[in-house]
Amino acid sequence: MSARRTIRIQSEPFDSAKETATLSALGSDIGAVATFIGYCRSENGRLKALELEHYPGMAEDEIGRVADEALARWPLDALTIIHRFGVMVPGDGIVFVGTASSHRAASFAACDFLMDYLKTRAPFWKKEILADGRVGDWVEAKADDDAALERWKR
């Protein structure tokens, strides 16, 4: 069976429960579903919101390439990647990644890999909206995120 590959770039909220259920319901040989949800944080009340800018077209293409890389590396039955753009407030989900496989190790590793790659390769940029409503700075990329990628080099 070829893997089910779902990628969505959207401004609307996602329903992580529904997405997880879809992965789980793929068949009687799905043994493992790993998911990750990244949320907008207030940073102890410092932030009112985050505004996510993206590069339409490239976001889909690049996430597609990252998904293909994961499918080539691990025996997955399915993967789902949803990345939102626009304004999010603390508690809103920004990104959902879910993987389904017969095997635990594959689902975990692929989910972790996908998040590391999305962080550093998906063309999205976060801008801070401060608690008082003023527009703050663009979030700076973390050296940690680049370091995390090194783990996947073969």
Binding site: G38, L52, E53, H54, Y55, G57, M58, D61, E62, H83, I94, V95, M115, L118, K119, T120, R121, A122, P123, F124, W125, K126, K127, W138, V139, E140, A141
Partner: protein, 86 residues
């Protein structure tokens, strides 16, 4: 001379004051690094956008590229800061 569509994102867009433009580029501009250098001479905003070349990433036709990538044949070139999605 060739005509290329340029797009800018995040603070690169804010500093250039431009989200998208079509530009005629002299044939001496061969790489992404050359193009960034060329753009930085256009005005103060562009100079500011490209003042730290290491902080500006690029894509050709929606694929990440390095500064030494050749721009010949490109339809769309993007400049943006390191990504902060996820």
């Amino acid at each position: 001379m060739s005509e290329i569509k340029l797009v800018y994102f995040a603070w690169v867009r804010e500093r250039t004051g431009c989200a998208e433009e079509t530009l005629t580029v002299p044939s001496t501009v061969r790489t992404i690094a050359d193009l960034a250098q060329f753009l930085s001479t256009r005005d103060e905003g562009y100079a500011h956008a490209f003042e730290q070349p290491k902080l500006v990433r690029a894509a050709i036709d929606r694929t990440h590229v390095k500064p030494d990538a050749l721009i010949e044949g490109a339809r769309e070139i993007a400049f943006f800061p390191p990504m902060t999605g996820g």
